[in-house]
Symmetry: C2
Subunit: 406 residues, 2 copies
Amino acid sequence: MALIVQKFGGSSLATPGHIRRVAGTIAATRNRGDQVAVVVSAMEGETDRLLDLAQELSPEPPAREQDSLLATGEQASAALMAIALHSLGCPARSFLGLQLPLLTDGNHSRARILDLSTGLLQQALEQGIVPVVAGFQGVTADGAITTLGRGGSDTSAVALAAALKAGVCEIHTDVDGVYTADPAICPQARHLKKISYEEMLELAGLGAKVLQIRSVELAQKYQVPLLVKSSFGSNKCTWVVKEDENMESAVVSGITLDRSEAKLSVIRVPDRPGIAYRILSPLAEAAINVDMIIQNASSEGYTDFTFTLPKVDLPKARQLVEFVAREIEALEVRADNNIAKVSAVGTGMKNHPGVAARMFKALADENINIQMISTSEIRISCVIEAKYGELAVRILHEAFNLANGA
Amino acid sequence: MALIVQKFGGSSLATPGHIRRVAGTIAATRNRGDQVAVVVSAMEGETDRLLDLAQELSPEPPAREQDSLLATGEQASAALMAIALHSLGCPARSFLGLQLPLLTDGNHSRARILDLSTGLLQQALEQGIVPVVAGFQGVTADGAITTLGRGGSDTSAVALAAALKAGVCEIHTDVDGVYTADPAICPQARHLKKISYEEMLELAGLGAKVLQIRSVELAQKYQVPLLVKSSFGSNKCTWVVKEDENMESAVVSGITLDRSEAKLSVIRVPDRPGIAYRILSPLAEAAINVDMIIQNASSEGYTDFTFTLPKVDLPKARQLVEFVAREIEALEVRADNNIAKVSAVGTGMKNHPGVAARMFKALADENINIQMISTSEIRISCVIEAKYGELAVRILHEAFNLANGA
C-alpha cells in the first residue's frame, strides 16, 4: 500500500460536475488499495473573481486582508471535494492551512512554508479517511492567513508529499505533461515522459506554466517524484524526477518562449565602480526582480547598462531608474516592451560544448538579431524582437532535432 | 467615548458599491469619536450560491464540510470590508471565528456559542484598528468550523457586544425596524420606536424576520440594548430593550402572520396515558420541532391529536406518525399544508384580560374559523385557513387600533 498525494488544479474543478469526476478519480485510486491525500486549488475563475472584488474596493488592498479573502477559494473547493467524496461512499475530511497548521512566514501573497504539521492528516489516513487539504494557503505564527502565490497549490502538494513521505505527488492539471515546446506554437513538439528537476526548474522559470517553480525546488530538495497528468482523459503524463543514468540525456530537452519581460537601458553611464549597485538597488528595495543584466564594454569612460524585468513592473522601475540616471548623469533611459526571450534547456548541455554556437547560428540564418544573451549550466536564453518569438521557437526546435528525440 | 457594535446583513453588502457605502457609515461613526467593532454577514446571495453547489454534489452534505463551505461567505465579506475601510483611511482588521476564537459546541449548522475570546479584539481597539468579525461562524474545541444557523450573524454581533460590554449593538438590515404588522400586508402598519426583548422574542419566533431569535435571547440575557436600523437611508429605527416603566405599554404591540407551518392530525386515537409521548417522541428524535399541540376531549375512549410543525418537515413527520398510528391503532393520519398562524403580541396583555376574547370576536365577525389556539403570557396565536391570513392581520390590526397606538 503506497501513499499518493493527488493535487487538482482549478480547471479540473471548474463546476460541480468536474468536482464529481475528480472525486471519482480519487475514490478509484483509494479502491485500488492505496492511501490518498488530496490537495485542491480554487474552482476555475474563483481567485480572479475575488481579486476583482478586492480591486473594486482598493487599488492596493492590504495584503493580510487580500490573503484572507483569496483563501476562501480553496476552502470552498476543499469542502466541496469532501462532500463529493462522501457522496461516493468515500470518507473524507477537509483541512485548511489554519487547521493543520501549515506554518508560513508573514510575507503575504508570496509566503514561504516553514513547517507542516501532519498529526491531523496521519490520524485521518489511519482512520481510512481521505484528507482534502485546501492548497495555496497557510498561517503565520500569530494566526494570520497567508497565501503562497499563484500556483501555490502545487507547492502545498509537494510539501504535503514530503511531510507524509508519499511515494509520489501527482499534479492533475489541464495539460498532459511537458513538451519539447509549446504545441500551440510548434506543432512538431514532442511529449516528454521524463524530465529532471533541474530541467523542470529552468522550464518553469522560463514561463512554461505547468508547475509553480517553488514546487519543483521543494520536490528536488526532498526528492519527491512528481507526476504531471491531465484531468481531461489523456493517458500521457510526465515524470519529474532526479536525474539518473537511465534518463535519456538530451543535449536540449526543450525550447521555451517568455513574453512577460521588458527591457530597460541606461545610456551613456559614467563607468565607475558601484554603478550597477546604484541602478539596481532601488529596484531590489521595491521588490522588483531583475532577470538578465548586460553592461557593455566601456568606451571613453562611458558604458550602457541594460536589464530585463517583468513587464508589469516597468512603469515603476522606469521611474526609479530615471531618478538614479539623473543623479549619476547618464544620458538617458530607454524602455522596450517589445521583446521576447527564447531559451533552450537541457541537462545534456553540461557535457556537450557547442550548443550555444548552434543556437546563435540557427537564429542568424533567419536574420533574427540577438539583443541579449544569458546562460546557466543547462540553459541558454536570447532576447530578441517580440515579433520573431514563435518563429525562433520553431527554428530552434528544428535545429536541435527535437521532434525525433535528440 | 462609547463602544458600538455594528452588524451589517447580506443585503447591505450585496455589491462592492454597497460594501463601500457601509464602510463609509462605519468610518463616520469612528470619526465621531466612538470605538466601533463590526460584524458582517455574507454578501447577498452568497450563502445560497454555496448551498446550491453543495446540493449539486450531495443531497445530504456532511454537516462539518457544509459549515466549512458556508463560512467562506462571511470570511470573504469580512476581508472585503477591511479592505474598503483601509481605502477610506480607516485602519481595520478582519477576524474569523477560528481566529478569535469564538468557541461553539459541535452542533454543525446550528452551533451554540460557548465562549468568545476578546483578546485580539481589545488589542485591535486599543490600537485604533476597527475589528471586522466574520459573523455566523465559530469553531469547536477540536478546531472544526461551525455555523450558527440562518441569521446567525445577529447572534455573533450580540455575543460580541456582550463580551466587549458595548453600549449598543446596532443591527443594520434592509428594514428600518419593527412595525405593528407587515406593511406589505397591512398598509396601516405603524413603526415602533421601542419594543421589549420579550415582545421581540415572540415576534421573532412567529417569523417576523427582523432578528434571529437567539440573538434576542442573548441580548436579553446580557441586557445588550439592540438598535435595528436600515442600511438604506431611512432615519427610522427600533430599539429592543428591557421593558421599563417609561415604555409605552401597549396591550397589543403587533400582529404577525406565519405561513411556514403545516398541521398533522391523528384521528381516533385510543385515549390512554402516554399517547402524546408515543406520537411525539419519534419526531423529537428526528429533531423536528413541534409547535402547537391540541388533544381533544375524550369521547367514548377515543381522542383526536393535532399538532403543527414546519412545512419542510411534513413529509418525514407524516411517515413517522403513520408508523406510530398503526401501532396504537388510530383510525388515520391527516396532513394539512393549507394553514396560517396569526398572532397578537404585547407585554400589556399580562395586565389586560379580555384580549383573547376581542381577538376571537374580530375573527368570528369575518367568519374566519379558528382551528387551533395557543397562548403565552404575552401572545395569542390562532391557526386559520391559509387564504384568510392577510385578511386576519388587517382585521386584528384594526380591532386593536394599532394604526394610532393602543
